[in-house]
């Protein structure tokens, strides 16, 4: 009797392990499947309700975290403010020139949304719990016009892109995920490279494969390059702000052809985002 029980247990365990490997093999790289779409459709409304109901409690816990963080940030922000004040004078002139150029080019006057894209506002309803994955689930899906590969932004800058879609929800792979790679350029230098994540630290991205002849400096802005060559092109439209250069030692630039970038968007604390649907990329 006992042996039979042990054998049955082992069989169940073996079945679960083999089942996991089979599922992993079948579903890896295939996007969302029917089962996930079904489960997601059932759970999306529940998650939306839970998201709304738990927001006050989340805000309270996050308030403690932000209070600790704010102490350290205060002195750094004061330094940055001084630099920014000096830069603002020059920026005013540049803005006036920029507005004229935008008018000439017929681009959207706000400049926030690239022309030809239809923004769909969505709320983050779930987030991957492990340190290895950086993706979130949003409450907009194919029913709202969202498609795989659509870029996702928030008020601060680039967040990521849609990697799987169901009827009422979509998975957004953040730019801090290990599978992410965004072609980017440093402005005003226009040195191009590839933004890659530093897994485990969403506040530190790496601009890789840069031209070591053009030296990049701390504080310079990094935006999407949005290149296109014939039929192929980047998934991201050009000039979406990504972040600013935080570490750019000459040695590292010449030896590894990379600099460190802090994303403008706080990838740890995302709430409302915009999916840029439609539009011709690149």
């Amino acid at each position: 009797m006992y042996r039979k029980q042990v054998r049955r247990r082992r069989a169940v365990l073996a079945l679960l392990i083999v089942g996991s490997f089979v599922l992993l093999t079948i579903t890896y790289g295939s996007g969302s499947n029917g089962l996930q779409r079904g489960v997601s459709t059932i759970f999306s409304p529940i998650q939306s309700v839970a998201d709304g109901a738990l927001k006050p409690a989340r805000d309270m816990v996050n308030w403690f975290d932000q209070t600790f963080d704010a102490r350290g940030r205060n002195s750094r922000l004061e330094d940055e403010l001084q630099v920014a004040r000096k830069a603002a004078v020059g920026a005013d002139a540049a803005l006036a020139e920029n507005a004229q150029l935008r008018k000439l080019l017929g681009l959207d006057s706000s400049g926030a949304i690239p022309s030809g894209y239809e923004p769909v506002t969505a709320r983050v309803i779930a987030r991957s719990p492990t340190v290895w994955f950086s993706d979130v689930t949003i409450d907009a899906g194919s029913g709202d016009g969202v498609e795989v590969e659509d870029p996702v932004v928030n008020g601060d800058g680039l967040v990521g892109k849609v990697s799987a879609v169901t009827g009422g929800s979509a998975q957004v792979t953040l730019i801090a995920d290990h599978s992410s790679a965004v072609s980017a350029k440093v402005v005003p230098l226009a040195s191009q490279g590839l933004i890659r994540p530093n897994v485990g630290d969403p506040a530190d991205l790496i601009l890789d494969f840069i031209d070591s002849a053009k030296h990049i400096h701390k504080g310079q802005a990094v935006v999407t390059a949005g290149w296109r060559s014939g039929e192929i092109g980047s998934d991201f439209p050009p000039n979406i702000p990504i972040g600013e250069v935080t570490r750019a030692s000459i040695v590292e630039q010449e030896a590894s052809q990379q600099v460190h970038v802090r994303p403008y968007a706080d990838l740890r604390d995302l709430d409302l985002v915009q999916v840029l649907t439609g539009g011709s990329r690149g």
């Binding site: 089942g19 599922l23 489960v39 998650q47 290895w132």
Partner: protein
């Protein structure tokens, strides 16, 4: 664990509630930039209360649901969490839980194990970017949060699943009857 339809329904409700709470609350709060991970704690507690089979099956179910809701490749989280639940159940079947510190300590150790497991699955699938040293800090903090969450969750689950627990039944049987007026 004595499985009846009522207990099974409670287990399903615990798994569903745990996953929804993780995704809507715990994953989206941060203390010192790290979010607590409730799911390994839940699976470890179920393994400690129900044994290897309960731990493994609930781990598989939690992982499967998590992958479905996050639209991740299915099977990765199931594999890691079923191993986590199985190890917790194995501990329960081999050793006595004498100290109240055992469940939180096991939650801490097995949460770190689960996080390393998720990393191993990533490595198996193919991770080709640099890994920050902050991952170690995140793992340790997740372990600390698991330690803090471990005891209340263990007590809560023991209360909810009490009618199904073999240990509790044995205690009830060996308890002396109260003689009134003696």
């Amino acid at each position: 664990m004595i499985l009846t339809p009522k207990i099974l329904a409670r287990l399903v409700a615990i798994v569903l509630l745990g996953v929804v709470l993780q995704l809507s609350f715990f994953s989206r709060v941060a203390l010192f930039h790290v979010s607590p991970d409730l799911l390994p704690v839940l699976v470890v507690c179920l393994g400690l209360l129900g044994g290897t089979m309960t731990g493994a099956v609930s781990g598989f179910a939690v992982g499967f649901l998590l992958d479905c809701l996050l639209i991740e490749p299915l099977g990765g989280a199931s594999l890691v969490l079923l191993a986590t639940g199985y190890l917790a159940g194995l501990f329960r079947e081999r050793f006595e839980i004498h100290s109240p510190l055992v469940p939180p300590l096991l939650c801490m150790g097995l949460t770190v194990f689960a996080e390393l497991g998720f990393g191993a699955v990533e490595l198996m699938i193919g991770i080709d970017t640099s890994v920050s040293g902050l991952v170690v800090r995140d793992l340790l903090l997740k372990g600390v949060y698991a330690f803090l969450l471990g005891w209340p969750i263990y007590l809560g689950l023991r209360r909810v699943l009490r009618p199904a627990l073999i240990d509790e039944q044995a205690v009830r049987r060996t308890r002396r009857p109260t003689v009134l007026g003696a």
